[in-house]
Symmetry: C2
Subunit: 224 residues, 2 copies
DNA sequence: CTCCGCTAGATTGTATACAATCTTCTGACG
DNA sequence: CGTCAGAAGATTGTATACAATCTAGCGGAG
């Protein structure tokens, strides 16, 4: 997994590893990132590690305070609302552009749907999230707008952090993938409005489930 | 201008200086950024400079290739189309949220309009661009969605690069600021649809002017 | 004349070392 | 008993030094 990649992309691998650890919540929001610890963990000196942290700072995943150090960017409930609002706007644009090109993502989506069924049965949440992300990345790519893809990628990083922090298996019904299939069907017919309508409901439900969970958790902090 | 700021934010000042140089075209798209040259220019060693470049890489302003070095991210005509498309989606969302809150930006806009008149008379393009950016930053801030503000900020950095690379004074009529005033008037009345309609036309005109300029330049590469 | 391989110089990548700053603990004073 | 000054330890910031890699220019083979 921590493959000995070609030395030319050692740095990129480092950034990817750190990013993945942040997205999956292994480094949870607010966690302090001590340079020497991380450097030793990844078998490098602090110099390249610091550069990786700066890169992630630029991506909005890490906050660095002078002489204080780096922490995984914190997440508040309002972030959830703001992120889903932003994501809807970006993904709607992606759908509109993808529909104009009659993008056909039905095959890969069906394949992912089958995988998702297995993941739900196995209660494998991280695998589910990854399938979800891959699906939406396909939609983004179908827009043929690299800047939109990049912006959506950044938002998705934040969304992944929210999911790994707040989602439960029960909140992830298979119906999610029915929505995905409805979206790609509409896309293949060039029907952007339908696709966006489904997406809008899809995201509202997802967001509201998270917010409801947050409220219940705030009421009973130590449920576990 | 290169103020001796408090030592705690030396790094942030360095990033700001580099970013500003990129946005204003002093470091034009495609320019190679040689570490030792820049380090000497800013009176520091390569270590903090490299970190600054990594940060800008994360912001999408710089491209770094292993063992090759950093380059100001190149700009192609398609980038102009893609960026304006993305910007319209983001700024429409900002307008909608600002209108919901009846944000009143009329005063500051009128003030900027007056400054813009002077800048146009003086043919001071960089000053004009800055006024433009500040106006749109106000709109973004009025959305009360920090993630949207950040996303729009990143897009604006790219837009600024486009402007400084391709804009001419003749392409910047004072009518731009009439549009701005129409937008803030609509906002103050909570009329998001009107604001978005004006913005849509506003951006189309701006984009088309740039594209027309690019085409004419491609036809006659060595004018001037 | 062209193309290939090679060397010298330029440039990037990073480990080490040390300075600067912050944090925590201790102990004295009120 | 609380508070504050100070010192020790921990952590971050960066300059220097050197290794790794790339680039450009030269000379020889075909």
């Amino acid at each position: 997994m921590t493959a000995p990649r070609a030395p030319e992309q050692r740095f990129e691998s480092l950034v990817d590893a750190l990013r993945e650890a942040i997205l999956t919540g292994r480094y949870a929001p607010g966690t302090r990132l001590v340079q020497e610890e991380l450097a030793e963990a990844y078998g490098i000196s602090r110099i390249p590690l610091r550069e990786a942290l700066r890169r992630l700072e630029g991506e909005g995943l890490v906050v660095i305070s002078p002489n204080k150090g780096a922490v995984v960017r914190p997440l508040a409930p309002k972030d959830v609302v703001d992120l889903y609002e932003l994501r809807l706007a970006l993904e709607s644009l992606a759908l509109r552009r993808a529909a104009e090109r009659f993008a056909d993502l039905r095959e890969s989506t069906r394949r992912r749907h089958a995988e998702a069924k297995r993941a739900i049965a196995a209660r494998a949440l991280p695998a589910l999230f990854k399938l979800d992300r891959d699906f939406h990345a396909d939609v983004a790519a179908a827009s043929d707008n690299p800047h939109l893809v990049a912006a959506l990628g950044a938002q998705w990083s934040q969304i992944m952090r929210v999911m790994h922090a707040y989602f439960q298996v029960e909140m992830y019904p298979e119906a999610v993938w029915d929505d995905h299939e409805a979206i790609v069907d509409a896309l293949a017919h060039g029907d952007a409005d339908t696709a966006i309508a489904v997406l809008t409901r899809h995201l509202s439900e997802s967001r509201d489930a998270i917010l409801a969970h947050l409220r219940s958790r705030a009421a009973a902090p130590n449920t576990s």
